[in-house]
Subunit: 240 residues, 2 copies
């Protein structure tokens, strides 16, 4: 069987983490290529290499999945491809559409979280857009976060605690990751919102307690959140 | 056969347009529900009704596709579902993964275009974030647009003029729409960039010349771009 190879920048969770969680929950072996030592072909160079390969047409940005002859990008696309292979989504089309819809809505929130610290340009330093970041973060916490997570709260209520009525599936892993990231980046703002999100909080706890996820979170494979990723803790963006 | 029903805000192209183009190119009949007269169940109320229906769990935001018992959202998800049914993507998995990858990358650009005029909050008026919008637009035109469209230019070169090596497919329709929108919003900035994008420009022309697309663009079904959509022409965001 072809081996799964994930390419993502080493040193941060980023969008690669949404893919890693599928492999880890399924207990399926994969190579996180850029986290190999450089002498074994790893490091950031591995990502650059796959994005610059001229023998085939590479994607614009990581995460990139290589599986046999297949090579493609976009985290939601990768999850959509992997999930039926890893037993993380029912095989019927209504379930797969619902799962991808949730995954893309989570990706929308992730993009908005990124822009709380980079509202003007991802190519500029945070310090050069801090004032705008304060404005955007305040509105994100006041309006956007309750809108999105309130929606997921209703979905979980409707479906018995998971995003799909059929039970646990891959977007639950991504919602877990979103909640973990928000709790890291906005301990005060998200902490206040959590009181109104009992089902989202319970989902986070149940995913964290899944045997292979718990082992993963306790391992060195799970990178810590830090200020190079999507979810960044800048106290001035999370006032009391 | 079940009828395709699209729900999207009337009066603007928005993200609904990426779905409409598939139906129009395929020549497949569909109901653009909110554009029916109110007395026939249309208008913005139709969108509100589908988002608030309590008999099933509706998505968070339009576009929404209803097809028989299926009801789901996210434009890229809807296109991915429709394309094999409408003959707009090859049926093999590598092609479907490549197509969805392109569709999601185009969606990333669309989200960035939206934020050129709403960098702080989609819930605030443009006028209340105009200074930040000027900053974000300048960087979008200088850095992001060349990065994204330069990438698509390379893909088109590699694949003989279409995004997939197998020939025309649904993300080509979306790239057409992106180019049309950019040309509307940034006649100066995009006009300058176009000189370096001969294949992107040629793709736009070839899609516009497709028989059913040409008929659609000339019809009243094609809404004009305007300043309530994603692509907005604000001269101060597109200086000489």
């Amino acid at each position: 069987m072809d081996r799964y190879e994930l390419y993502y920048w080493p040193g941060l969770q980023g969008r690669g983490e949404f893919v890693r969680l599928l492999f880890e929950d399924a207990g399926v072996d994969y190579t996180d290529v850029a986290r190999l030592p450089e002498e074994e072909g790893g490091g950031a160079r591995a990502v650059v290499r796959i994005l610059k390969s001229d023998s085939r047409l590479p994607p614009l940005a990581p995460p990139v999945l290589k599986h046999g002859e297949l090579l493609f990008a976009q985290a939601a696309n990768i999850c959509h491809y992997l999930a039926p292979r890893l037993g993380l989504v029912p095989s019927d089309e209504p379930a797969r559409c619902a799962a991808l819809q949730h995954q893309l809505t989570i990706a929308d929130v992730v993009a908005e979280v990124h822009d709380t610290h980079h509202p003007i340009a991802s190519g500029l330093y945070y310090e050069d857009q801090r004032e705008e970041a304060k404005k955007r973060s305040a509105i994100f916490l006041a309006d956007r976060l309750p809108k999105f997570l309130g929606y997921f709260e209703r979905v979980l209520e409707h479906n018995g605690g998971w995003l799909l009525a059929s039970g646990f599936s891959y977007p639950d892993l991504s919602l877990f990751q979103l909640v973990e990231g928000l709790a890291y980046a906005f301990p005060k703002g998200f902490g206040r919102a959590q009181a109104t999100l009992p089902r989202v909080t319970a989902l986070r706890d149940r995913v964290a307690a899944r045997e292979r996820i718990a082992a993963y979170l306790a391992s060195e494979r799970r990178l810590p959140f830090n200020e190079t990723g999507i979810f960044r803790r800048y106290p001035e963006l999370d006032p009391s």
